[in-house]
Amino acid sequence: MSEEGIICRCEELTREDIVTAIRKGARTVSAVKRRTGAGMGLCQGKTCQRLISQILGEEAGVRPQEAGMSRCRHPVRPLPISDIGGTVK
């Protein structure tokens, strides 16, 4: 994969952005997320987390179990605020 290849589509982050975070010390998927915002967008890391885990392996020799995943939180998919706060007119 090239340095310019997009890893996190939602936040438009390239492989180079991820590698920079790893060079600055990130050693888990969560730490990359905190440094770059990867996985903080609309899909909440559904695609990029595995790719980041892989890059952590290539760049820093981190095993997938050590790289981990970022924490799953509600909602599983985006929810319209008007449906949630429905009683307010």
């Binding site: 730490a31 903080m40 939180r73 909602p75 985006p78 929810l79 605020i81 009683t87």
Partner: protein, 394 residues
């Protein structure tokens, strides 16, 4: 990055949040030999999961107000002069009043704070809607704080930590203290899961974990985790120019000096309406607060509670059909009087507290770092911190 751990240093800062990384930065800048240790990862505690607000509005006159204003200046310097990209902006904040009574209560509130040096302004509905057209016309008015704003709290922690490292500080993640060795009332060393470091000073900047570290030297500190739940929206075009918080929430949650300071009782739940649009365009919506120990799960009930409040204040969100993409929860570092716990500790030379920052740690981080660095390097602070000493709890 981890490397082999140092055997000896002048200062060990425990806790890799905003307070710890800022303190390490100012100490390193002052030429001190400093180690910053974090049991998990940098910014993995409260500093990494909050709305990133920098606010002077709530601060009663005195050291808290002085500290908040001085901290904004540190953020100015750090982000402008030193060009660290931390998305710090003095965009302003509106504390909005939903009832006439709230609006009336804000008159003495503003007066007291302006006498103490702040520059707040009470504005009526018309002016409010002119400045912030997307707010609900049902609001009565607001307190306008022109200097308040926001920062990306994650970027702030990393920037201070990276800057500290550039100045020679050593940073160890996954490094947890297990014991503190003291002799004749003086700190001598700190033992960790990665080995021991000899040191003259230990700064306890552990947030909700601070009681654990203080316990190692037999000190009890009255810090309680107060869970805060928040929602995050998708990125959207700019709909707000400033930070919005409802007056009722500020009164419930912060020591406002309205005659009911520390109104928040243990075991009560508070629901607020805070909206902060980040640089990327996400809305950070706060929040539901409760005391549930260290349980950091989010609840389904918080979704309608937060959403209803925000739709009342910002009805335009319904028109946009804005989508909520995530919830999260972390902790306020609650103290009984909602003041921080800072400074030296009686009877143990070299042990320094830097915790209990309730919900204002992100705002106060830089100034706390600077003051504690001054305390160590020159023995005094430019803003008095005596009233924040642990000894006040007896």
């Amino acid at each position: 990055m981890m490397g082999k751990m140092a055997k000896e240093t002048e200062v060990v800062v425990v806790g890799g949040g905003i307070i710890g990384s800022a303190t390490a930065y100012y100490l390193a800048r002052a030429g001190k030999d400093v180690v910053l240790m974090e049991k998990n990862e940098l910014a993995s505690g409260s500093s990494g999961a909050n709305a990133g607000l920098t606010s002077t509005t709530w601060c009663p006159p005195g050291p808290l107000l002085q500290m908040s204003m001085a901290s904004l200046k540190e953020y100015d310097y750090f982000s402008q002069e030193l060009a660290w990209d931390i998305e710090f902006e003095r965009c302003g904040r509106f504390t909005v009043c939903e009832t006439e009574q709230q609006f009336e209560e804000m008159k003495p509130f503003v007066e007291v704070r302006n006498k103490g040096g702040n520059s707040l302004r009470l504005i009526d509905r018309n002016e409010l809607l002119e400045l912030e057209p997307n707010l609900s016309p049902s609001l009565f008015g607001a307190v306008f704080a022109p200097n308040d704003g926001h920062v990306n709290p994650l970027y702030a922690v990393y920037a201070f930590a990276d800057a500290a490292r550039e100045l020679g500080a050593k940073i160890y993640e996954y490094t947890e203290p297990v014991a503190i060795n003291a002799e004749h009332g003086c700190v001598k060393a700190i033992a960790t899961n990665k080995g021991e470091i000899k040191t003259k000073y230990i700064i306890n900047a552990c947030g909700i974990g601070a009681p654990v570290v203080s316990e190692m030297v037999g000190l009890k500190i009255p810090i309680i985790p107060n869970r805060e739940q928040m929602l995050v929206s998708e990125e959207m075009p700019p709909i707000l120019n400033r930070v919005i918080i409802n007056a009722g929430y500020m009164k419930d949650v912060q020591p406002t000096g309205l005659g009911d300071s520390a109104a928040r009782k243990k075991s009560t739940q508070t629901v607020g309406t805070v909206c902060n649009q980040t640089k990327k365009g996400n809305l950070l919506l706060v929040g539901v607060n409760d005391f549930v120990g260290e349980d950091e799960r989010t609840t389904f009930e918080s979704f309608p509670a937060i959403s209803e409040g925000i739709l009342r204040v910002l009805p335009i969100l319904r028109t946009y059909d804005v989508q909520i993409i995530r919830s999260f929860a972390k902790f306020y570092i609650y103290t009984p009087d909602q003041k921080p716990i800072l400074g030296k500790v009686d009877g143990l030379e070299g042990f320094i507290m830097a915790s209990g920052v309730n919900d204002y740690g992100i705002c106060f981080g830089p100034i706390i770092g600077k003051l504690l660095s001054d305390l160590i390097c020159i023995g005094e602070t430019t803003i008095p911190i005596d009233e924040f000493n642990l000894s006040r709890f007896g």
